[in-house]
């Protein structure tokens, strides 16, 4: 009589269809929410972990909004170990409406695509090229057209822009004196390969903006927000950092050179307590649904006192009774949780759209799903053990006497 009557689990789940359905639904909702919240946090952190180790960012030590003089660039390039330095200037324009916000940067197009070759991939060139030729074609097109720009796939799907399209942006930081909007010609489309590049960015030629500034045709910062550069192989990044910063220690603008990872980490740190808030809420959600499941199982346990008595009278040990209870609970939690996790994966795209420009790289990592599944299992076990313990304490005669 030691075989566990697994069939009972199935029968019970099936006998209370409404309750089973409701409990599975509650687990589904909770695990879906949990995965979404955790994914926001992992998305934020992914930018840090995927940053290139050999890339440095030179910025003002005072503020993100203080520009570095343009004549810093040759001085930075002269530091031993520095290869390929590019300006990275925040353009800060918008398309038609202020709410159509996305990132735009002016860069040195000659070196930019080399600098970021491992971070983004050109998926469409000026004449519809794809594959490896696309990048060379885009570089040539950028060199040939002062107004050329490259946009993310995300911008293509958001605004329907394609290669050959002229994009009009209204400047907030850089403004033309004649009050007209800025025009950029899309010559290529890129896809981010890592989370440190987002899927809603437009890259343009810095020298095009510079022409307007130097010609007195536009107003805006004359300097450059940050310089990005690669450290040549065989050089110690720390020595390169010191080599750059020591040149400017006495001004005119003190610099702070950091690895790209540290630069991204600073942004995450600026989000303040956001990850903590989200974590707390995620915890509350899991807790709340655990109560629901514990509740369901307590009820199931109570209704099963009579049956438990029969099983005991038939000679089944307490262990079998507990195993049945925990299995039933686990079946509910893993089914609901699994569906919730699946829904979190399925809804990635709609979440990206809803979260818009805040988290353009939102995605659910497999690790998050595994974590969620583990959580569902723990909830299932806790919810099953509680009534199992109560049941184990029953004496068969009392149990038999009780009404179902």
């Amino acid at each position: 009589m030691s075989r566990t009557p697994w069939r009972l689990v199935w029968e019970h789940l099936w006998a209370h269809k409404v309750r089973t359905g409701l409990t599975v639904a509650a687990m589904l909702v909770a695990l879906f929410l949990f995965c979404c919240l955790v994914s926001i946090v992992t998305t934020v952190n992914a930018a840090v972990t995927s940053a290139a180790g050999n890339r440095l960012v030179v910025q003002s030590a005072v503020s993100l909004f203080v520009d570095l003089p343009r004549d810093y660039q040759p001085k930075i390039e002269a530091v031993p170990g520095v290869v390929r330095a590019s300006k990275l200037q925040w353009f800060g324009g918008y398309y038609q409406e202020l709410s159509n916000f996305f990132a735009q940067f002016g860069v040195d197009h000659q070196v930019f695509f080399d600098l970021y070759s491992r971070d983004l991939e050109i998926v469409e060139g000026p004449d519809g090229e794809t594959g490896p030729e696309a990048r060379a074609a885009v570089e040539a097109a950028m060199a040939a057209d002062r107004r050329a720009c490259v946009i993310a796939e995300g911008l293509r799907s958001r605004f329907g822009w394609g290669v050959g399209r002229t994009v009009h942006l209204i400047g907030t930081i850089f403004q033309k004196n004649d009050k007209s909007s800025w025009e950029f010609n899309v010559v290529g489309i890129y896809r981010p390969l890592k989370s440190n590049v987002d899927n809603l960015t437009l890259w343009m030629r810095y020298d095009y903006i510079q022409e307007f500034l130097d010609g007195g045709l536009a107003t805006g910062p004359m300097g450059v927000g940050v310089y990005v550069l690669n450290v040549a192989e065989g050089y110690d990044p720390a020595a390169v950092v010191e080599g750059i910063d020591s040149q400017f220690r006495n001004g005119p603008q003190v610099t702070m050179t950091t690895t790209e990872a540290a630069f991204q980490a600073a942004f995450v740190s600026m989000l303040g307590n956001l990850p903590m808030f989200i974590g707390t809420i995620g915890g509350a959600v899991v807790f709340a649904v655990m109560f629901t499941l514990v509740n369901t199982m307590l009820m199931a346990g109570r209704q099963r006192a009579h049956e438990g008595g029969i099983l005991k009278a038939l000679g089944f040990p307490n262990g079998v009774l507990s195993r049945l209870m925990v299995s039933e609970s686990l079946a509910l939690s893993l089914l609901g949780g699994g569906l919730g996790i699946a829904l979190a994966f399925a809804s990635q795209h709609s979440m990206q759209v809803m979260l818009g420009s805040y988290f353009p790289n939102y995605h659910v990592e497999p690790r998050t799903a595994a974590y969620g599944f583990g959580m569902a299992a723990i909830i299932g076990i806790i919810a099953g053990v509680t009534p199992a313990l109560l049941q184990a304490r029953l004496r068969p005669t009392d149990a038999l006497r009780s009404e179902g």
């Binding site: 409404v18 309750r19 409701l22 409990t23 639904a25 509650a26 909702v29 909770a30 879906f32 929410l33 030590a61 005072v62 503020s63 993100l64 909004f65 203080v66 800060g92 202020l98 209204i170 400047g171 907030t172 930081i173 403004q175 107003t219 006495n250 001004g251 005119p252 603008q253 003190v254 702070m256 600073a266 740190s269 600026m270 989000l271 303040g272 307590n273 956001l274 808030f277 809420i281 509350a284 959600v285 807790f287 709340a288 649904v289 109560f291 629901t292 514990v294 509740n295 369901t296 307590l298 009820m299 109570r302 209704q303 805040y358 009404e403 179902g404």
Partner: protein
């Protein structure tokens, strides 16, 4: 009185209370689910309320802000010295003080890197002010420690909200801006955004930061001005067009992104968690009905109306909701007044604010809990009320 004792078509109130007491564990767990939902809602909304309070304009002052045309915040703005002088001296809508001086000040603004006390870096607003800035704000600024800065020297005063969260922001500390050390000589309090800023002499700031231009002109306005007309005139000004806004409108525009995000978060979470809580309530109530099938049969046989049974069960669910709501409010109440910081995505600076659990918010939270109880209770109550008397009577 008779109605209060037997409100459900003759069923005594005690009947419902007894039912909850009998299944207190289940009722408590269900109420906890409701409580956590309500707590998350109230927590997020209390953050938004705190944020709104910081940006709440002072009603008694008519302040105007002049920015560069096209700028959406101070950080993006830039106004040259000659234009600033012109605005301060010539604009007719600016109020004059007793000595006949225009109550307007040209200010600089820059978000600078500072270290948080708990570790990490954040953007803190650094404002260069003129002596008139202090008069414009009048009683809204209170010195709580040290003294005000001396204009012309490398000194700063720090908002109280900052001095508790950011390094080097206490009286006697030194703040290094680019290559120049500034001495912290005082801490001031302001209920609004300024309580989270560092203030120094605008001329010294511009020199230290090598930024020889202002970001805005702030002015106290004469009463009863047609602000829209002023804004239109200034935008079309042939010499020096600029963007004019009342401080009220400006402040409102500065919390758009974060305020929207928090509202969205609160609604999203409440709907989804509420769904889970309602499912929990339905499960509990269905079990309650199932366990009492025989009892309901007896009641029906005794001649109690179906409505009476419906309302008795609905009331049971409502009570569970009420308990959950009260618990949820108790959970978030300790948050009230807790200081926190967040990034304002409009200005890209750190703002310090407090969770605000207001009585209104508590009322809304409890209402949501009651609603969750009702929604969770309707189906099971219907099921109870529609039981067939004979079959229910037979059920054991």
């Amino acid at each position: 009185m008779e109605f209060l004792r037997r409100p459900f078509g003759g069923l005594p109130l005690g009947y419902v209370l007894r039912n909850i007491a009998v299944r207190r564990a289940a009722a408590f767990f269900t109420a906890l689910g409701v409580a956590l939902t309500v707590a998350v809602f109230a927590g997020v909304i209390s953050l938004r309320k705190g944020l709104e309070q910081v940006y709440e304009p002072r009603g008694d002052l008519d302040l105007g802000i002049y920015l560069r045309l096209g700028a959406t915040s101070e950080g993006e703005s830039g106004i040259g010295r000659s234009q600033a002088d012109e605005i301060v001296k010539e604009r007719p809508e600016i109020l004059r003080d007793d000595a006949g001086r225009p109550m307007a000040a040209a200010e600089s603004y820059l978000a600078v890197y500072m270290e948080k006390i708990g570790g990490g870096v954040t953007n803190v607003p650094l404002r260069g002010v003129q002596p008139m800035s202090l008069d414009i704000h009048g009683g809204a600024l209170k010195l709580v420690e040290g003294r005000w800065l001396r204009f012309g020297s490398d000194e700063v005063v720090v908002g109280r909200a900052l001095s508790e969260r950011i390094r080097n922001c206490r009286v006697g500390d030194t703040l290094r801006l680019n290559t120049v050390p500034f001495k912290v000589v005082g801490v001031f309090d302001n209920q609004g955004v300024y309580g989270g800023e560092v203030w120094g002499d605008v001329e010294r700031m511009m020199e230290a930061l090598e930024r020889p231009f202002f970001q805005r002109v702030l002015a106290r306005l004469q009463p009863d001005q047609d602000l829209e007309k002023i804004a239109k005139d200034l935008e079309a000004d042939p010499r020096h067009p600029c963007k004019f806004q009342s401080e009220r409108d400006y402040m409102a525009s500065q919390t758009r992104l974060l305020g929207f995000a928090l509202t969205f978060l609160a609604l999203f979470l409440t709907v989804i968690m509420g769904l889970a809580a309602v499912l929990g309530a339905i499960i509990t109530m269905l079990a309650s009905v199932a366990a009492r099938t025989h009892e309901i049969g007896v009641l029906l046989a005794l001649g109690y109306k179906r409505e009476a049974i419906f309302f008795a069960f609905l009331f049971e669910a409502l009570l569970i909701g009420l308990i959950g709501g009260a618990l949820g409010v108790l959970l978030v109440l300790p948050l009230n007044g807790t200081k926190t910081g967040a990034m304002n995505w409009n200005t890209f600076t750190d703002i310090s604010f407090e969770f605000q659990v207001t009585p209104g918010l508590m009322a809304v939270s409890v209402s949501i809990a009651l609603l969750l109880g009702i929604v969770g209770g309707v189906l099971p109550a219907l099921r109870a009320a529609l039981l067939k008397p004979v079959e229910a009577f037979r059920a054991l």
